[in-house]
């Protein structure tokens, strides 16, 4: 049991942090929502009603989509783009999808390689991009959820302000939808760019996201 916890510490710790954060968001979001309801002449709602509301759904989904977009872009961009001296980058001479030998696929697969890496053909092609495909799917799903929940939340606000609700296409073209999307995207892009550049010169001893403390600034792709 202890070994299972140690071997899966990263996933478990972040899973629990996620649950604690989403619970905190639910409670504080409900209080914030109710304060605005009262100010607008509406009625406060309980936590259960808030958890099924479009207000909660759009706030959750708009953050999820930006995180999955961040990882999708990072996964794909780091195939082709490198950053000299960054542990987030692969070596400068390895730009691109690399050879089958380097990727251990087909006849270069080992006995421990996943089956879909060994079989070649369509399955190997799909498996070669499975991480980006799943991240992309999760991004599309959460962005779609943000879009639909945001539309419902926006129209509820429109009616509360004695204004006509709008159709879905009008919402997709609205400042509300793009402001929600872009304000999350800009922060993700800033964080990723900062990490790629700062990790050239700064270190965190023992972290695989950092180079070894004594590594030269010019060394690329080395992690410690």
């Amino acid at each position: 049991m202890r070994r299972v916890l140690r071997d899966n510490g990263l996933g478990l710790a972040f899973g629990m942090l996620f649950l604690a954060a989403v619970a905190g968001q639910a409670v504080s979001g409900n209080a914030d929502f109710n304060a605005r309801q009262v100010a607008d002449g509406g009625q406060p709602i309980g936590l259960a009603a808030y958890l099924t509301s479009s207000a909660f759904a759009v706030d959750v989904a708009e953050n999820w989509q930006s995180e999955y977009l961040q990882f999708l872009l990072y996964i794909v961009a780091t195939v082709w783009l490198v950053q000299r001296g960054s542990p987030e980058s692969k070596p400068l001479d390895k730009v691109g999808t690399e050879t089958d030998e380097e990727q251990k696929i087909g006849r270069y697969a080992t006995s421990a390689s996943p089956r879909w890496a060994r079989v070649r053909g369509r399955r190997t092609a799909v498996y070669s991009h499975s991480l980006a495909l799943v991240m992309g799917l999760l991004f599309v799903m959460s962005w779609g959820a943000q879009c639909v929940a945001g539309w419902a939340h926006f129209n509820s606000g429109q009616l509360g302000a004695f204004t006509d609700p709008v159709g879905w296409l009008s919402y997709v073209a609205s400042p509300d939808f793009w402001n929600r999307s872009l304000q999350n995207w800009q922060s993700e892009f800033l964080a990723v760019g900062s990490m790629a550049v700062l990790s050239v010169y700064l270190r965190e001893r023992g972290s695989p996201e950092s180079k070894p403390v004594g590594a030269a600034h010019g060394v690329t792709g080395e992690t410690g």
Partner: protein, 132 residues
């Protein structure tokens, strides 16, 4: 334009189906509340109509007189409820010649704006009772 409308309808149907299963599109309750309000106004039952107003809407007319006295003098026109649009705890009902706005409270749907007329695209309606 027609294709755009159709696309919106196709998207709206499953969304509304899901929301409906969750009890979030009670257009029947909204239409019923709007109908009771229209009926009270039609019967000149100002007291009954006032009872169906949300607190803020009722307070907005009670400046120097009671709600019932103001409503009796206003001669607000509220036709039979037509198309109802519900988003969350807010609703809009076309009641020719004007429009009603409603909000959901513990006791049911209440009128937040009556005798409302559009002032132009993207602008709030102007209401004889309640409203912005």
């Amino acid at each position: 334009m027609r294709r755009r409308r159709r696309a919106e309808l196709l998207l709206a149907l499953p969304v509304r189906a899901v929301l409906g299963l969750a009890g979030c599109t009670p257009t029947g309750e909204v239409t019923s509340a709007a109908g009771r309000f229209a009926d009270a106004v039609h019967r000149h039952d100002a007291r009954g109509a006032c009872a169906l107003l949300a607190d803020r809407a009722r307070r907005s007319v009670e400046v120097t007189q009671s709600c019932a006295e103001v409503l009796a003098a206003l001669h607000v026109q509220v036709g039979p409820p037509g198309e109802a649009t519900v988003w969350g705890d807010r609703a809009q009902v076309r009641a020719t010649p004007d429009t009603l706005f409603l909000a959901r409270y513990t006791g049911g749907w209440r009128v937040t704006g009556a005798g409302c007329r559009p002032r132009g695209a993207d602008l709030p309606y102007e209401c004889e009772i309640g409203g912005p």
